[in-house]
């Protein structure tokens, strides 16, 4: 009898715990979770750490958007045209004869596009806008570029060939979208001359008068 009482209490407890988890589940801290994607072999082993890495580690601290120039104005970050690589590298004699650069010039001379492999690939029914996220976090909230890009792309400045290091699943996106981010300065002035509107809830105003809002929760914003 005792045994079964214990069993029942246990079962009931599990049931209650599961359901309270289901209803009250805190957003899993997915933004920090690492989920390493497959290692990818690129036609040219591009050294991100050299270009974007910190100076003390031999990097040149080039802004991500110097090369991924489309990110701030379109859905995709884009791969720069070879033109861009050549623009710098034709005057950098020191590395001219290294195998990677030689390969680059081979492509350039043949006027052939480099068949880069996709690393961060979302399903085709997802519409992810680099532009919106960059506008929001870099230009409005003034967060550092590498940090902002790193939310999704991980610590690229220490990578050679970029490798996916975040989950990029829907739940992972949501974990960030459902957090409150400031949309106004104190006193309710919109940051960056932005027009804000909210779908269902009036966003909460905190003590300093800053309004914070969640990211969009409307399915059709991200799904096409």
């Amino acid at each position: 009898m005792q045994r079964f009482l214990r069993l029942s209490v246990l079962l009931l407890g599990l049931f209650a715990a599961a359901s309270s988890y289901a209803a009250d589940a805190p957003p899993p801290a997915l933004t920090t979770e690492d989920d390493l994607g497959p290692a990818i072999e690129q036609p040219i082993e591009f050294p991100h750490f050299r270009h974007a890495g910190d100076a003390d580690k031999g990097g040149m601290q080039i802004n991500c958007m110097y090369c991924h120039t489309y990110a701030r104005r379109s859905l995709v970050a884009g791969i720069p045209p070879i033109q861009k690589c050549i623009g710098c590298h034709q005057s950098i004699e020191s590395v001219r004869e290294t195998p990677r650069i030689k390969k680059l010039f081979e492509y350039w001379d043949a006027k052939k596009a480099i068949p880069w492999k996709k690393v961060h690939d979302l399903p085709d029914y997802v519409r992810f806008s680099h532009e919106r996220h960059i506008k929001r976090f870099i230009f409005q909230l003034n967060r550092p570029v590498q940090e902002v890009c790193g939310y999704c792309h991980g610590n690229v400045k220490e990578m050679t060939v970029a490798r996916r290091s975040k989950l990029l699943s829907m739940g992972w996106c949501v974990s960030c979208h459902q957090q409150d981010h400031p949309v106004t300065d104190e006193g309710g002035t919109p940051i960056g001359n932005q027009a804000y509107w909210y779908s269902m809830h009036k966003p909460p105003v905190d003590a300093s008068g800053i309004i914070k809002a969640k990211g969009p929760n409307d399915c059709s914003v991200c799904h096409k």
Binding site: P123, Y125, N193, A195, W197, D218, S220, H223, K224
Partner: protein, 284 residues
């Protein structure tokens, strides 16, 4: 968080849409279609095929009722028993009416079709499991189901043709329900541009594919909330209100001389498409 969220925002969650107060801000996309201008030429329908990656199902499948025309042009004859249709025919472009109280939304078991804050009845293809309840409950029968796998096994877009596919619109595989979305991909682009400039979308900034093609300009699309928009002005001039199942003007003695009406208003789906009645000359 959810239960506390529930309790904190109880009144929000109990808000009945669209009956209680102002439902949409700052956007409510709506349309008006002037049947007197519509010539039934089908340009809108073909434009829709081009914009929204609609598959051409072919003769056999069309015969079985698998046509995927999100926008269909219906042709009605007079029913006065005369030998010849001497008042011409009646054309009606019919597509998803983007109902405010859409019968399709409530019945979807997985929530693949929801009401957006912009007042569009969104269809999330990747969420759809194909129960087809939405179409069963649609009074207008304007939802279309992918009965076959058109992109692959049916090879609707053989090599080269597939390069025409619009990358902003998902190509639907088998088992998915689809319908007119008011060209939501165009709306999204316009909203993005407006946001960058810190403003709202202007009237006329976003056109639906059908509207853009329509040679007679019978279709007007815009933001019903914006008092300056054409569509708002038309709805206002026709005294058609969104959240009503019968318009005040129609209740007046002697009937209305305004042309605006919505189809099956009395079923209370509160459609977002207002039609303007066709006019026929009384002198001849």
């Amino acid at each position: 968080m959810s239960v506390s969220n529930l309790l904190e925002n109880w009144s929000d969650f109990r808000h009945t849409h669209p009956v209680d107060d102002v439902p949409h801000n700052p956007y409510k996309w709506a349309m008006s279609i002037d049947l007197d201008a519509c010539s039934g030429c089908n340009a809108c329908s073909v434009a829709c095929y081009a914009e929204n990656n609609l598959p051409v199902v072919g003769k056999d499948k069309y015969a079985h009722g698998y046509a995927m025309h999100w926008m269909r042009i219906e042709r009605y004859w007079d029913e006065d028993g005369r030998d010849f249709p001497d008042q011409g025919a009646q054309f009606l472009p019919m597509m998803c009416q983007q109902c405010e109280a859409a019968p399709c939304e409530t019945v979807c078991p997985v929530g693949a079709t929801n009401h957006t804050p912009d007042g569009i009845n969104s269809q999330i293809y990747n969420r759809c499991i194909g129960s087809r309840y939405c179409e069963a409950n649609c009074p207008y029968k304007v939802r279309y189901f992918n009965w076959y796998d058109y992109p692959t096994t049916d090879n609707v877009w053989p090599a080269e043709m597939n390069q025409q596919l619009n990358p902003d619109v998902t190509v639907r595989g088998k088992g998915v329900m689809e319908k007119c979305t008011f060209c939501i991909q165009r709306v999204t682009v316009a909203k993005n541009n407006a946001k960058n400039e810190g403003r709202l979308v202007h009237d006329g900034e976003v056109w639906t594919a059908c509207q853009q093609a329509c040679p007679t300009g019978a279709i007007t699309f815009g933001n019903l909330v914006d008092p300056e928009s054409k569509v708002h002005k038309q709805w206002q001039a026709q005294q058609v209100e969104l959240a009503k199942d019968a318009q005040t003007k129609d209740k007046e003695e002697g009937g209305s001389e305004l042309r605006g009406y919505r189809i099956f208003e009395e079923l209370r789906p509160y459609p977002s498409v207002m039609y303007l009645e066709r006019v026929r000359e009384s002198a001849v």
